[in-house]
């Protein structure tokens, strides 16, 4: 008999809790690595020196007061979607339907603007739009939640499919509402009367959006951290058995949490149509329902950390846009950079959660990394 036991060269074990400073140091290191890779790739396609790449990016993202405001708005919208998805994720409910929930919220808003814009004054119209959008988003998220709670239907796939149902619904209404006829677009809604447009405060039209999202961020943080609801949904996420045992009504928590998740998505749709775009397109959400998933995940579902992770992604996208405009490259350049950053940060989780041991010659192990 052969007595020697075959031992793998690398041995991976799960870490116990890692100090948060060290965890964030690893994440920071991976982000730096990602930025270096992005710079090298950009430099090789544009003949810029890697440092100049970030110079250009800074100029593109923060170069003028207007650009800073646009960055702030983009940040707010992405953050709002990520925030919306967070309670569901904490409950381990994969809500990939952010895209669709934002779209139906936007659709409800646009419908109110078009049908009620002439009859109601803004002071009543805007709250009505708000309620309609939130209700629509919430309903869109509660459909999969109901089936999940009742029959354990796979929510990842269900919410994903709901996105495209919403997209086609919007496409349908765009044709009904199109103006001018035959253009295939809705155009700016209520351009002359500005009915249903969010008021401009502090002489910038994006300021109100940013303030609203800031308030939502704080509210969400408090909800998740200090409220009974927040506690219950975390317990459901950790173990449904435990939750049932301590008397939490799991069905009700699932539906309630998704109500909230969809409602905030609907709110984002309202902000987009009423506050910034004043029109509706099928690409209104623009993939942010998915990017939001990653923003939330990168921040470990912590609302405050999400500000940083969405800032990073928005900054890179805006910066890449500038580079691609200057060098006549395709606008999708930003998506490639976003992808690279995501892959790097995603893999950093491995080094935070696991530990690698390298086999020593004598067969004894030594901790590494």
């Amino acid at each position: 008999m052969n007595n020697s036991i075959k031992e793998p060269f690398l041995h991976i074990t799960k870490r116990k809790e890692m100090a948060w400073q060290k965890a964030w140091a690893i994440r920071g290191g991976m982000i730096l690595l990602a930025l270096v890779i992005c710079a090298v790739i950009t430099a090789s396609t544009t003949e810029l020196s890697p440092l100049a790449v970030y110079g250009t990016m800074f100029k593109g993202a923060l170069g003028s007061a207007r650009k800073v405001w646009v960055l702030g708005k983009e940040l707010a919208i992405l953050l709002a979607i990520a925030l919306a998805l967070t309670p569901a994720f904490r409950m381990k409910f994969w809500n990939l339907g952010g895209e669709g929930q934002v779209l139906v919220g936007a659709l409800a808003t646009a419908a109110c603007m078009i049908y009620l814009g002439k009859t109601l004054p803004n002071a009543i119209l805007i709250p009505v739009m708000f309620i309609a959008a939130v209700a629509a988003g919430a309903l869109w998220a509660m459909i999969p939640a109901y089936f999940k709670a009742k029959w354990n239907t796979n929510e990842t796939l269900f919410t994903l499919m709901m996105n495209y149902v919403a997209t086609q619904l919007v496409a349908y209404y765009i044709i009904i509402w199109e103006s001018p006829k035959g253009s295939g677009k809705v155009g700016i809604i209520n351009q002359n009367s500005e009915a249903g447009w969010l008021p401009v405060i502090g002489n910038n039209k994006y300021l109100l959006i940013i303030l609203i999202v800031a308030a939502v961020t704080i509210a969400m943080h408090i909800y998740l951290k200090y409220s009974k609801h927040g506690y219950e949904l975390t317990v459901v996420g950790e173990s449904q058995q435990t939750a049932r045992y301590v008397g939490i009504k799991v069905d009700r928590v699932i539906i309630r949490t998704l109500f909230l998740s969809g409602a905030v998505c609907g709110l984002t749709g309202w902000l987009l149509v009423s506050g910034s775009d004043h029109t509706i397109t099928t690409t209104l959400a623009g993939g942010r329902g998915f990017i939001g998933v990653m923003v939330a995940w990168l921040a470990q579902f912590n609302p405050i950390a999400m500000v940083a992770s969405s800032l990073l992604l928005v900054f890179m996208t805006r910066g890449a846009q500038e580079i691609s405009t200057i060098y006549g490259l395709n606008q999708s350049f930003g998506d490639i950079l976003t992808g690279i950053i995501l892959f790097c940060i995603i893999s950093s989780e491995f080094f935070i959660n696991y530990q690698i041991h390298v086999r020593k010659a004598a067969g004894k192990e030594e901790a590494n990394v």
Binding site: L96, T153, M161, T167, M294, W297, L329, S332, D335
Partner: protein, 328 residues
Amino acid sequence: MFDLVGFIPRAVVQSIPLLLGCTGETISEKAGSLNLGIPGVMYVGAISGVIGSFLYEQSCGGEVSTLPAILIPLCCCLLGSLLMGLLFSFLTVTLRVNQNVTGLAMTTFGIGFGNFFGGSLIKLTGSEVPSIALSATSRVFSKSLPFANDLGWFGKIFLSYGFLTYVAVIIAIIAGFVLKRTRTGLHLRAVGENPATADAAGIPVNKYKYLSVCIGCMIAGLGGLYYVMDYASGVWSNDAFGDRGWLAIALVIFTIWRPNVAIFASILFGGLYIFYLFIPSSSMATKELYKMLPYVVTIIVLVLTSMRNKRESQPPEALGLPYFREER
């Protein structure tokens, strides 16, 4: 009268990217990997093939010979999608990262990659053509059997397609057979149902997961290649591929994880996708509602299978979960 002979070939042409994507996704889902990166992989597969054949056509000045015109894009496509598959399996199997997040990141990256190179290829290579139109390569890809036209409706419905169409059907049949009837398929499904038990039975879990994701991605990538070379006649336009990748994932559920059912289901989906073109009385707006049909049907299937709760029609038990041996 509904023009069935006109309708079926167009539905089939629509269905092939979906079928390839669906077969690929089924293989990786059966081993427990919910690869939401498939839409991105299909873009990467398509653009890799386009880059390969673009460079080839440029180098030989439009005079292409059949064999390299097929092999070069094919190999580039397989290589591109294989790399995406390796990326996904490295991140989710070796590094045990969440599959949903990885998949979505891959979709973002893949679609960006496709559109970026599709939009900038001409500028990057410094060539002087106005747009990417690989008509010579496309002719080779979409060449049907020479006697197809002589056989009337039979030839039109069954024989009027390029070779990739038949390859797709054969791949689906083989995949269905391997998954259902062979030892390899049994092991693969065991890994997807319960990796810990499979591991205890001596099945190399990680190897199966890697292989299933990579093979699945390569098959899905072919779907992208088919779309550009055959369906779109070699013309690349950004975002033209649209949401077909997601539709392929929907199809996996619709067929309840069975590739041989997918052959017919994909034609059904392809038909639903273009159904609106064949409804004479419908307005532009209702056509948009018809496009919703594939997704609505998928949702209904998803709900029904979960309500009936039959064991054969459930998703693989460990779908989407990472496996770590020491966590048992």
